[in-house]
């Protein structure tokens, strides 16, 4: 086996880690079981809709412990990283985890794709939603990576999930608080902002819950560009922090 390229090396390590991390399997299996039950109870179309809304979380799942645990454990102070910079390896992890997430997502997507072909209701919009979900996945990896430079043991992922829980609780309260609250909910469902205030609200919502990108209401180029800009921002900040990273374990 040759690992002449850092990406191949990083992919191998990430692949082995995911394979041997039980929690990833339990949660991924839970997701598949949830979709299967939903498909069975509510039908294919609902299950497909839930798949698109939820599959970016697979990326979030594999981004747990992305950096800090390895940095603190001392496993980067290895002869391997005298040859290949540990900083490049950590940076490459964004790509390898994205590839792994894409493989896992594609495996779950395939039954939906095949069923749509079988049923004769296939549309290219499915691919567009899938690609938007991949973008949301990359968003999660880049954000979890940035947080993962400080937070350890999966707390990078937990922080994102907690923020989203508060977001949805906030929206729930907002929706029952009168006309202006209902306007916000209508805006978030339609994905069509009028004026700069609404645009800001929508952009903020998307920054906190990028899964919305998979919805057809959020298909506008502006929203996709916003997500892309944030991905570049997170990756850029990561690269800056990684370029200054030192292994200080004594």
């Amino acid at each position: 086996m040759s690992f002449g390229y850092p990406l191949r090396f990083s992919f191998y390590l990430s692949w082995k880690k995911v394979l041997r991390t039980k929690i990833f399997f339990f949660l991924a299996a839970g997701f598949v079981i949830f979709l299967t039950i939903f498909w069975w109870q509510a039908g294919y179309l609902y299950a497909r809709r839930f798949f698109f809304l939820l599959f970016p979380y697979l990326f979030l799942l594999i981004a747990q412990d992305i950096f800090r645990e390895e940095i603190d454990s001392g496993s980067l102070e290895n002869v391997i990283f005298i040859r290949f910079s540990f900083r490049s390896y950590l940076q490459e992890k964004n790509v390898s985890l994205f590839l792994l997430g894409t493989i896992a997502s594609t495996l779950v997507f395939l039954p939906f794709l095949l069923t749509s072909l079988f049923r004769g209701d296939f549309s290219w919009a499915m691919f567009s939603s899938f690609l938007a979900g991949l973008m949301a996945g990359l968003y999660y990896i880049s954000l979890a990576g940035l947080l993962g430079l400080r937070l350890r043991s999966g707390s990078n992922v937990l922080a994102i999930i907690l923020i989203q829980v508060f977001l949805f609780l906030g929206l729930l309260v907002t929706s029952t608080s009168g006309a202006s609250g209902r306007d916000i909910i209508d805006l978030l469902i339609s994905g069509e902002p009028q004026g700069s205030r609404e645009r800001l609200i929508l952009f903020s919502f998307l920054a906190l819950w990028p899964n919305a990108l998979t919805s057809r209401s959020y298909a506008s180029l502006g929203l996709k560009l916003e997500a892309l800009a944030l991905i570049f921002l997170f990756l850029g900040l990561q690269a800056w922090r990684l370029s200054r990273l030192e292994l200080k374990r004594e």
Binding site: M1, S2, F3, G4, F9, Y12, L13, K16, K17, R20, T21, E70, S73, G74, S75, L76, E77, N78, V79, I80, F81, I82, R83, F84, S85, F86, R244, E246, L247, K248, E250
Partner: protein, 292 residues
Amino acid sequence: MSQVILRAKGLAKRFGHVQALHQVDLELIRGKLTVFLGENGAGKTTTLKIILGFLFPDAGSVEKIQQDLRIGYVPEQPAFFPWLKGEEILELTAGLFGRGESELKKRRDDAAAFLSFDVSQLNRRVRTYSHGNQKKMAYLQSMLINPDLLIVDEPFTALDPVAIKQVRDLFIRLKEKGKTVFISSHLISEAEKLADQVIIIKQGKTLLQVDWPEFVQKRIYLRTRRVGSSEKIILGRWPESQTSDDWLEAFILRREWEEFLSGLNDDLKKTVLKDVEIRSPDLESFFFFWNR
């Protein structure tokens, strides 16, 4: 002629309020084993990590004079990716350094036999190994790449007496092959058996780097109690001598000592020879001399 393969100049490093390194200078010479000595917190590990690229120096530089210098490294407490098995770590290392499967197996078996490492353990995750075997695993990994320079932080930590001897023999074998070894150790007695070069570091500063066999050959260790007239005579001739509450010590050139004795009258000579203890330099005395 000795050939320098790596040179560190003026290394300085601060961690928050702590100035870990002030001015570290050192040279590693091809085919020689260099021992890096210093008290806890003197800056040995920090220096090694800067040389290895794990830390950035605030000032100074590390120059690899030999191009494509292949460096092996064994940390004091090796840590490995906890989800990988021993075999996978070795495969990964061999793959990264462009070693084929047959070469991997040959080198692995050779090093494992030398270190009495049971290769059947390689099917398990490394985190399940004992501390000693994790250390051996780090040696195995470094041997796999056939390093030009092997850097080892506390080479004998976690090893039993048999393994200590095996590691010592491994260093000798590497030297015989023209490889360079750089060790940081507190086990002075073991280090002395191996040292070609000795570097003393104190409070983040290199005090000196000496060619140890040459030093032992050319110098003597002199010690006298700080009572009587000999102390003044010795201090007058060798003001660089170190004094503690009870003792005066110096490492002086044999030739100078002989010249000095021949210049004394018989009575003074008898007094000095009665008071002064003279022996060949040993690394422990040398280390304590510089760490008073």
